[in-house]
Subunit: 135 residues, 4 copies
Amino acid sequence: MLPFEHRSQLRVRYGETDQMGVVWHGNYILYFEAARTEAMRACGGSYRELEEAGVMMPVVEVGVRYIRPAHYDDLLTIVVRIEDPPGARMTFTYNVLNEEGETLATGHTVLAFMDAATRRPCRPPNTLRRLFSRN
Amino acid sequence: MLPFEHRSQLRVRYGETDQMGVVWHGNYILYFEAARTEAMRACGGSYRELEEAGVMMPVVEVGVRYIRPAHYDDLLTIVVRIEDPPGARMTFTYNVLNEEGETLATGHTVLAFMDAATRRPCRPPNTLRRLFSRN
Amino acid sequence: MLPFEHRSQLRVRYGETDQMGVVWHGNYILYFEAARTEAMRACGGSYRELEEAGVMMPVVEVGVRYIRPAHYDDLLTIVVRIEDPPGARMTFTYNVLNEEGETLATGHTVLAFMDAATRRPCRPPNTLRRLFSRN
Amino acid sequence: MLPFEHRSQLRVRYGETDQMGVVWHGNYILYFEAARTEAMRACGGSYRELEEAGVMMPVVEVGVRYIRPAHYDDLLTIVVRIEDPPGARMTFTYNVLNEEGETLATGHTVLAFMDAATRRPCRPPNTLRRLFSRN
């Protein structure tokens, strides 16, 4: 049911920092992806099973805005939201929070649906469409 | 002198691919950064020297659009462009091309200027402002 | 008290796989590090606090043996063991298990102690020596 | 012809550093791999073509010793050596040098041969065996 929201947590790894002493900005993409995986698992639409069933979801767009830095060993909360039902594309938005609940970064990814065998665009699986419908 | 354009090349590493058999989408951020470093070096504004002089340029925004996949061992060309003089922020845009000259991805990053000691925003160094002025 | 053993779990991220369809071998170093951080926190010797107190532990040696592949979305258990009290160096060994309890990889890291200010070798902090003594 | 030696260069990326202000130790595995790819290409045994021909070379062991740190923007030289003809396994050793020719790290990787279709061990392709024979 939409809108759908899910929260998961992760701990910043040392190797994810850079010499500025904060999380290297590119690693938020990893965090978004981990949170997206958890969000899809939580609502019964495991991405792993999707791929095993022959549907891949390549990322076609990503964007991040950085507000406050994250540091090594921080416990981050990633809030994932899905507002719209999956069509040719599916959009996830993210909010990265620290332990004080402050927003460190926001972002979004847009994914497409691709037949793993033909590598051609395909329609979203019915399972996903049922999970993320308006009512 | 603006607009400024610079091209550099890099070879896709095996560890940069994912199980879709293509470059993992987050790694384009690494490519943008490598190309930005080369672009700044080429025009005499080495980012390394900037940091050694006490100015850091944290990334405040990044965006990528993925058009065609890149593969292991591909030789990619990254075109970096700077259109506007550095103010409170500085924007770089990117075009990632394969060996056939096809665009694989486009993107941009917006960076701020920060005093390394105080971690407070600061003005862009004069060296950079002279390098990237309108005439 | 030695020997010390600690277990933690992590979920394989998509971006950690490579085009062989398994976890890229270099990413086990990230897993070892995450598990080492958790092990040190669990016994009261937080690495973050260690660095904040001015002691860094650069890695001087790492080794991994790969036995079975790990896959995207696998829930891995990392067993960390410390056998010997910290001296000029400190050695951690690792065992990476899948959900069936099979060993996927084993490894070790050797770390030194370094004064963060002078970047010179230093003795292990007393806190660590007390935590990891023979009795 | 053995022993075989090859040198290639790479520039350290910002995202490859960590908050210690040096290259994060796990990233040497990326460097070894990039250098191995170049070494194999240079002698006519492109790893990409090997995989396209149905043979994969999973890493079964890796080891690194860290001597001096590498820094952002350093131009590193990686010396790859092959001493022994490929059998069930194939070993590469590495020497990472800075611009002054000092050794920053040494390491090795052991790779196996695997049939990409069956995922079973296989013999090294004849092309590779001819390239890396004793005389």
